[in-house]
Subunit: 93 residues, 2 copies
């Protein structure tokens, strides 16, 4: 059965997927600012909308439009900001 | 609140998203064969895995790997087949 995950009171929801590419989630974030923590390396691909991201050690937002990809290290926290709903694909490495 | 949709007894689940690109859903299909109906034109993009598709009037499967895009007309039924879990983005036009 497909697993649906909810974060931040339901403002972020995702569905888990596992195939030959690996273990991943695809999800949607409502407009808002969120801080996520990683427990593995995560490769994030934006599939709809634009996500602003502040990775550990950064003090500026970097904007990732649809098709944009960024990688987040293991065991860190990172901030994201969505000015409109965003869809993403998150591959765990 | 983000809406989660379930089809085929939970073998296909999706999350609705609406932003400047339009109204869409992102979803995951478990391994299986499914027939969907459209009520508007749908632009489907495969975001993980490979989906085989048989559009109306076709009698062969066409394979769409990750990144593949196909369009389905309004008010038709079409068949898809996933040999492993597939993630998609479906934009309604």
């Amino acid at each position: 059965m497909l697993k649906v995950n909810e974060y931040f009171g339901g403002s972020v929801k995702s569905i888990s997927i596992e195939n030959e590419e690996g273990v991943a989630t695809i999800g949607v974030m409502e407009t808002g600012e969120y801080e996520f923590g990683t427990s593995s390396v995560e490769v994030m691909t934006i599939t709809a909308g634009t996500l602003e991201v502040m990775l550990p050690g950064e003090n500026q937002w970097t904007s990732y439009p649809k098709g944009g990809v960024f990688e987040v290290e293991k065991n860190v926290k990172f901030k994201v900001r969505a000015k409109a709903p965003v869809a993403y694909h998150c591959l765990y490495k």
